[in-house]
Symmetry: C2
DNA sequence: CTAATCATTACCATTTTAGTAATAATTACT
DNA sequence: AGTAATTATTACTAAAATGGTAATGATTAG
């Protein structure tokens, strides 16, 4: 089965969560983060660039520059990060309700699942992630 | 965002649901199904072949042959079909719990989401699909 | 015997993914 | 002023996944 999360989103969340850990929200360089999270730096640069264009990150160039969060971690949801890096949340290949693709009897099912997924990812914020107990926010209790 | 469902799974579900509609469960040829569902026949042949190898379908070769369900529709869940055609249900790129990939603070979240998805897809059967009211089985009421 | 049907493998074009590389622009520090 | 650190931006690429097609073989009903 195709996966929901690719490395772009994965790395992006790691980057954002890493920044969210600093309560002072001072700019941190990608070199440092890439090294500490063991991520490929040039790839991370592309990701950070997109997150900044989407105004989830602010950047400071030059010496002692870096990236920082544009908002407080409580105000940044997972769905925002993922939609920037991976496009719209979707379970099915095609959104067009006219499209003959997507097994007709299950279309409604996939659509509701998609909305459910979107809501869940919207509810979880960076603050939840760094707080260390994201389990309380899961879609259904284990 | 990458999608959960690709055309293989999509077509496979259509094929199975189409077969499930016949209460007598007589063999039906792929030529007929591909034509009525407007699917590419040779591609559907590959899909049916895999479903037969997985013993979800039985085949009868030669004139008047075709495929039929191996079990009653109530006994075939969506997750079985999808796992045959798209591999294991997963939300993340890597299952290895040692892997440094997968944003660490969200790992638990993705894993629970994955189990939830698996359970949901397990609960829904072909019989539910052809009954025409699959909405009652959705993960969360709309 | 022959047409219909599944069985099996090989192949292929396009898209997506996961990066690398190169270069430019900006800024802090000396 | 010079230079090293840092983001900005675009171009490129190798590998894998996706969505098929093509070719050929095996089986069976009529």
């Amino acid at each position: 089965m195709p996966k929901l999360l690719t490395s772009r989103g994965d790395y992006g969340i790691l980057l954002m969560a890493s920044l969210a850990k600093d309560p002072d929200n001072r700019p941190r360089s990608l070199a440092e983060i890439a090294s500490s999270c063991r991520l490929p730096q040039t790839f991370l640069e592309q990701i950070a660039f997109e997150l900044r264009k989407a105004q989830l990150l602010g950047a400071q160039r030059g010496r002692n520059g870096g990236y920082r969060l544009s908002r407080r971690p409580e105000m940044i949801s997972l769905v925002e990060i993922l939609e920037v890096l991976e496009g719209p949340i979707r379970t099915v290949p095609c959104q067009d309700s006219q499209c003959t693709l997507i097994a007709c009897p299950t279309r409604g099912f996939w659509e509701v699942l998609q909305r459910h997924l979107h809501k869940t990812l919207q509810r979880i914020t960076l603050a939840d992630l760094v707080s260390g107990n994201p389990h309380q926010l899961l879609p259904i209790a284990p």
